[in-house]
Amino acid sequence: MIDVRVLDLSSIRDSLKKGDFTSKELVKSYIERIEGSSKLNTYNTTTFEQALDRAEISDGKIKKNEAGPLEGIPIGIKDLFCTQGVKTTASSKILENFIPSYESTVTENLFKSGMIMLGKLSNDEFAMGSSNETSANGAVVNPWRSRNSEKELVPGGSSGGSSAAVAASLCPLATATDTGGSIRQPAAFTGTVGLKPTYGRCSRWGIVAFASSLDQAGPITKTVRDSALALQAMAGYDNKDSTSANIEVENFENYRNSNLNGMSIGIPKEFEELDLSLDIRQNWEEAIQWYKEAGVNIKSINLPHCKYALPAYYIIAPAEASSNLARYDGVKYGKRVPGEDLDSLYKRTRAEGFGDEVKRRILMGTYVLSAGYYDAYYLKAQKVRRLIHEDFLEAFKTVDAILTPTTPTTAFGIGENISDPLKMYSNDILTVPVNLAGLPAISIPSGLDSSGLPMGIQLITNHFDEKSLFKFGRLIEESRVNIEMPTDWWIKK
């Protein structure tokens, strides 16, 4: 068996090309590791047999020099991406047996580039959550633990299955989606790299929708370089998505030949006033120092409306969700709980099919859109959204990137925040403004806190300037302390 813990996307790509191992050997190694890691509860569904068949085909292609750019490399897919013939549940009971007849554009792009799906990764139900505890399949366990502690921690959410799987080397790359931080926050909690591309960069076609104006697919990987490779394969214009940007996908891997000297980074004042843990605050300062040393100009900037981003988000996202989730009604597909009449069928199906957090958000969203409340809540939030957007556009007139922590704390314990929605929501305070403005952002592991848990730093750039994220992000990887991936405490022998 290959020790997949030491591998990442780019090293696998090189090894497969050189013939160090075959795709089939690689897939087998991941399968064995996944089978031993059931404790982490990362995969909702596995597709091992198909993966082995696909690996054989990939090996043939590699031999014949017909390989795609990521040929034969295994991948985990968040269970929000519809996969043809493979159960897609959004980690919800209401879709527990749903098998799409279609393939999402992003997964199709990845498969076309040669990647092989190992299975579907857990997430918060319908991507609503920040801890992966709202999944109908139960909580996902973070492979990281505090030093000298056996307490189980959350992997973040909603892409907690994706972040935990990459951190535990149960796949070298996982797809994820980010509506308010669902890629970056779990990446920060698990010592992985999480990229939320610009809204419109990756097609939303075939991804179970949460909040359509905010949802964006992106990768969780071990390194910045892998993130660039993955985005290359995922992104692209799709005429089936009216919000897909018709913008050329440049060669993201080119970022590596660039120099940061003379460029500028903004530090938002308002973020300094937030309630951040001491370790995270120090880590942020450290990162600023690294850039200074690299010749980057550090500028203090103002994003005056960002402190309102979280309440605006918790109006806009539930409003869109309340409408997006209306299609789960027990009529056409998915779970149906019979009722004596249509109304009771609807109400029972949705009461039993959705979990508490999803129901809370549907009710909240219905409320803020309902007659008499629309202007006070929804419309107000949309106006604040514009002000937040304008804050960023103003900032990018003077800086090339913005640097903040990804989360106010490191990973917390399973069960710790789940009963307090507001406390849970506050996890997203640093990530949500980016979604409202549609900007690209990346979370990169930047150190370990005093208890040995990973911290993430967030870089934000202007629309469609993902390349600069990689360019700036590389310095974090080069400057930080060495982050050893967690030991295999969970492996069942």
Binding site: F98, I99, S101, Y102, Y199, S213, N239, S242, T243, A245, N246, H305, Y308, P311, A312, Y314, I315, S322, A326, D329, G330, V331, K332, Y333, G334, K335, R336, G339, E340, D341, L342, D343, S344, L345, K347, R348, R350, A351, F354, K359, R360, I362, L363, M364, T366, Y367, S370, K380, A381, Q382, K383, V384, R385, R386, L387, H389, P421, L422, G438, L439
Partner: protein, 95 residues
């Protein structure tokens, strides 16, 4: 701002989600606290600000009027919880 029990029941009905008596009280507390919190938005002066529903600033692209989809009945029906003669079936609707 607090939300009344009555209002909770109304939005639950609009959302087509049945909720039990004990859930109502819990939701009353939770949603009220969320509403109180989001009301910090009232601090922001939004006079003359256009609402923004999408960060993209371009406009809708239109497709040509070509029939290139449909005729996939088995795909449409394959996940159906109840069908007969290629129709979806639901309890009788009385208008």
């Amino acid at each position: 701002m607090t939300i009344s029990k009555d209002r909770i029941l109304k939005i639950a009905n609009l959302s087509k989600i049945s909720i039990s008596e004990d859930q109502i009280e819990k939701l009353e507390v939770e949603i009220s606290s969320i509403l109180n919190w989001v009301e910090t938005l009232n601090e922001v002066d939004t006079e003359n600000i256009e609402p923004m529903s999408n960060s993209l600033t371009n406009f809708l692209q239109m497709r040509e009027d070509i029939v290139n989809d449909g005729e996939k009945r088995s795909d449409i029906l394959s996940n159906s919880p109840a069908e007969d003669e290629s129709f979806f079936v639901v309890p009788k609707v009385i208008e």
